[in-house]
């Protein structure tokens, strides 16, 4: 339970928005966000394990500081205040990605035509849960002061998954205005659980003569796959299972990413992509838990068997307790199921300016002839079980010289209105290092932050021949 708390409060994340990486064309990993992004190098090899480390956590409604501040106030009082100030649309999310390997190269299909092929494999974890406010209120207060209040059990919506993804993408610059791309993906789910389609309620209704009627109406479902290995007694056996599943031994699925970049004029860039249009079919190691029950309870009836004949109170109590036992009895099945991947949309419009032009023709000039500055707006949206998660960013991109680029963003989303991010890519010869983090204003005290996002990595870049 403690780790859950930490997950919820501290590691808590900020969706899967990578507003700093998106459109950062010097960094090859941007092709994972938009397979139709612009590529101006011959190839790259990501440093294994280190080419893309991404970590993203966010919460809405409160920050860790609200609860854990060392201010001498009663912890439970603070917790109560936070729980009451949140609602069931608030959520906690965590996302992590790790590139295992990645590489890309350009292929000449004819003298003029070139394709850029990129491929790789990454591991991803994603946890997402809404705040089940009614559960928290019921646990904290009980039903005593809440007669006639309907506690909504449908507020429980949680999903978690660890998977590996093998991908291969094709990127083609059609002409000076259009670049298109597509990426195919094979998902191998290592472990998954989700409980997102719950319904039901609990209500206590006062009736005549000081009586109460307790109504339990439950329609809950938890789907899991791949979690039985946790019961393996031997850690080595667990690792074996994990290794196998990482390499296509898990529940498999397929998906595609689509994207384009359009430059109607050299100064203007419009691009967009859809990621993870795909699904996973869960059929191996599946266990589903179903609770679909209805019970009304208004007390043990009819005592005094001498005068009512037939059923005794004792029988009746047995009946009530078996009703309750049945109420919480969970059915389980191993029926396979299919889940769509959380689809993501990225799109941006930007304006390029500040081209360096030498007034005199000089063949030995090494000045970079491309635009040095770019400003734009970026939209991110992602499908979550009960809502569309979104973020809107304004960004400024600046090339300091060929080997150093910096991008800064200001993002507005469900987490905050004060999210400033900074990303940088620096190259020493062919070795590139990039690091990007947002919510920088909160870094002086991360506990006050409602979201944290960090990406970093190393690549070996094969640049275009300059002559």
């Amino acid at each position: 339970m403690k780790w859950l708390f930490f997950l919820g409060v501290f590691v808590s994340l900020h969706s899967q928005n990578k507003q700093l990486l998106y459109g950062f064309k010097e960094v090859p990993q941007q092709l994972l966000l938009n397979p139709g992004g612009q590529v101006d190098y011959r190839g790259y090899i990501g440093v294994p394990i280190l080419s893309h480390i991404h970590f993203n956590a966010g919460i809405t409604g409160f920050s860790a500081f609200d609860i854990f501040a060392d201010d001498g106030r009663d912890f439970n009082q603070k917790l109560r205040e936070v729980a009451y100030s949140m609602d069931s649309k608030d959520f906690v999310g965590f996302n992590q990605q790790l590139d295992i390997f990645s590489a890309g190269f350009s292929v000449n299909t004819s003298l003029e035509d070139k394709l850029f092929i990129s491929f790789g494999m990454y591991q991803e974890s994603d946890i997402f849960t809404y705040f089940p406010k009614d559960y928290a209120i019921l646990a904290n207060e009980g039903n005593y002061n809440n007669l006639n209040r309907r506690f909504d059990f449908g507020q429980l919506s949680v999903s978690a998954e660890v998977l590996s993804v093998f991908h291969i993408g094709v990127n083609k610059k059609i002409n000076s205005k259009w670049t298109l791309g597509i990426r195919g993906k094979i998902y191998s789910s290592i472990a998954q659980l989700s409980s997102t389609k719950n319904q039901g309620s609990f209500i206590t209704v006062p009736t005549a003569n000081n009586n109460l009627n307790h109504i339990f109406d439950l329609d809950m479902k938890l789907q899991t796959s791949g979690i039985s290995f946790l019961r393996e007694p031997d850690v080595n056996d667990e690792l074996e299972v994990l290794k196998k599943r990482l390499l296509f031994g898990g529940n498999l699925g397929v998906g595609i990413d689509l994207g384009f970049t359009h430059q109607p004029a050299p100064e203007w860039t419009i691009d967009a992509s859809l990621q993870d249009i795909g699904f996973i079919n869960y059929s191996k190691d599946v266990k589903n838990f179903i609770l679909d029950k209805y019970l009304e309870y208004d007390g043990v009836q009819s005592v005094f068997p001498q005068v009512t004949s037939g059923q005794t109170a004792q029988d009746y109590w047995d009946e009530v307790s078996s009703d309750f036992e049945e109420l919480v009895e969970i059915d389980s099945t191993t029926t396979s199921y299919t889940k769509w991947r959380p689809i993501k949309l990225n799109s941006s419009v930007s304006y390029n300016f500040g081209r360096k032009i030498n007034k005199e023709c000089n063949c030995l000039d090494k000045l970079d002839p491309t635009f040095q500055n770019r400003v734009g707006a970026h939209l991110f949206a992602m499908k979550r079980p009960n809502h569309l998660q979104w973020a809107l960013s304004l960004f400024y991109f600046r090339k300091f010289y060929k080997n150093l680029q910096i991008k800064t963003t200001y993002t507005v989303d469900a987490f905050s209105f004060t999210n400033v991010g900074l990303g940088m890519s620096a190259a020493l010869g062919p070795v590139q290092f990039y690091i990007m983090a947002d919510n920088l204003l909160e870094y002086q005290n991360l506990a006050k932050s409602q979201s944290v996002s960090l990406q970093l990595g190393f690549n070996y870049i094969f640049k275009n021949n300059e002559n």
């Binding site: 860790a64 912890f75 019921l138």
Partner: protein, 190 residues
Amino acid sequence: MKTQSFFIKYISLLFVLGTCFSCIKDTDFEQYDTLIIYPIVEANLVNAQEPAASFVDSSGAELPSISDQVIFDVFNSDFSVDNLIKAELVFGITNSINKAFQIKMDFYDSADALQHTFSIDIDNSPTNTLLFTEHIEVFENMNLLALKSTLKLEITITMISNPTSVILTPDSEGSILLVSKGVFYLKISS
């Protein structure tokens, strides 16, 4: 150019240091250990409704008392023993029989030893109107320990001679309705 490269180095250094040395201040994550909640749960217990005729046997003679035993294995469950800090049993009796009663509640443990007892006096209803009597029995401290060892509840309804000296017959009017619920104050800590 020199100024630019100094500027770049400065920014890069600041950025890397900023990322590495961001910190969490003025917080105490150990506070989690003291998580406590105090829910109050209300639930119905035993209900009964007996017409006047129930107090008359097959030969037409009045029964001096009727009683029943109910086994409740909730009070002595591990959950109650660990988390229950106070309980109130609320009894509401509506009498429309022209007869006074005494309702006695006896709480027995698993060895059938009496742990707790109390009685509720009910007035007669001379004109068969509904007379409501409420009794709240509070369980705290020693009483609470008695409740937590209770397995069996015996309810006895005894007729009391009333000033009007009415004798009940199978045709007597009215009924006695007993509704009971428990209010359980819990303290659950992590």
